[in-house]
C-alpha cells in the first residue's frame, strides 16, 4: 500500500511540475520541477515512508525504463549509416572526459575523503 501511496505522491508532484512548467514557460522540464516539489514535500514525515517505497521500487529497475527509447536506435539507421562512426567517437570520448573530470574534481575538492 505504501508504494502505491508513494506513486501517487510522485505522480502528483510531476503533474504539479508539468503544470508550473506549462504556465510559467520555465526552462526546466516538468518532472524536474516535480523533483524539487517532492524534495520540499519530504520535509513532512507522512510523505517519507510512501515515497521511499515507491522511489526504491522505481529506481531499482531504472535501467529497464531506458530500453524502449534505446530500441529507437533502429529508426535512425540512415543517420547511423552516414555519421555512425563519428557519432560513436563523440559519445565515447565525451563520456570518458566527463567521467574523468567529475571523478578527479570531486577527489581534488575533498582532501579529507581518503580512498
Amino acid at each position: 500500500m505504501d508504494s502505491l501511496k508513494g506513486l501517487a505522491w510522485l505522480l502528483a508532484a510531476q503533474s504539479l511540475g508539468e503544470g508550473i512548467a506549462r504556465l510559467t514557460h520555465a526552462p526546466l522540464p516538468g518532472p524536474v520541477i516535480g523533483l524539487v516539489i517532492l524534495l520540499l514535500a519530504l520535509n513532512f514525515s507522512f510523505v517519507q515512508a510512501p515515497v521511499q517505497a515507491a522511489a526504491e521500487a522505481l529506481l531499482t529497475h531504472l535501467s529497464l525504463l531506458f530500453v524502449p527509447v534505446g530500441v529507437g536506435v533502429m529508426v535512425h539507421t540512415g543517420l547511423i549509416a552516414e555519421y555512425g562512426v563519428r557519432m560513436l567517437v563523440v559519445i565515447v570520448l565525451a563520456t570518458w572526459i566527463g567521467l574523468a573530470v567529475t571523478a578527479l574534481a570531486l577527489r581534488a575538492f575533498t582532501p579529507a575523503d581518503k580512498d
Binding site: P29, P31, V69, V89, T95, G98, A103, R107, D113
Partner: protein, 237 residues
Amino acid sequence: MQNFVELWVYLSATPLFGLTATIVTYVLAQTVYLRLNQAPWANPVLWAVLVLAALLTASGTPYPTYFAGAQFIHFLLGPAVVALAWPLWQRRLEVRRRAGAILLAALLGGSVAAISAVGIGYALGLPTEVIMSLAPKSVTAPVAMGVAEKIGGIPALAAVFAVLTGLVGAVSAKYLFDVLGIHSLATRGFALGTAAHGIGAARALQVNADAGAYAGLALGLQVLLASFLMPLAYRLF
C-alpha cells in the same frame, strides 16, 4: 502455418506485444548479467536493446507498433526523475556538508561532458542538429529530450544518444577509473551519475549501495543543473 501468421499479425499489432517483449527480453538479459557476475560488457540494457532491435527488424515490425506497448514502461521515466528526490533527500546532510565540492564537481563534470561533445562533434563536421542532440547526452533521457528541443536538437535522437552514453559509461567506467587510480566507490558512483545518468547510476547501484546513492545524487543534480543551464548557455552564445 496460415493461422500462425494471422495470430502473429494480430498479436504484434496490440500494445501487449511491445510491453511483453520489453519486459521478457530485459528479464532474460538481467538473468544472464547476474549469471556472469555483473560483468560490465554484459549490461542488460545493451543486450535487451540489441536483441529487441534485431527482433523487430527481422520480423518487419515498425518501431511505432512496438512503442505502442513499450510506452507504458517509457512513461515511468517521468516519475523516476521525480523519485530522484528520495536519494537526494536521504543524503541531504552529507550534501550540505560537502555542498561546495559536490556542486563544483557536478557543474565542472557536466559542462565538460557537454562542451566536449559539442566540440568534438563540431570538429568531426557533424550537422548542427546532430550536435545539439549530442549536447545533453549526459542527462537522463527524458530530460535530454526536453533540453534538445529547446536548443535546436532532435528529441528522439537526443534520447538515443543519452541511452548510448549511459551504456558507454556503464560498460567502460570501471576500467577508466582503474587506470585513473580512482578507488573511492562514492567518487566512482558520483562520476557515473554525472556523466552516464540513469544507466550509469543503475550500474553503480548494482555494484555498491554507497556508489549507488552517490550516483543517484549526481543524477538528480545533473538533471537540475543541465535543464536550467543548457538552454541558458544556448541563448547566450
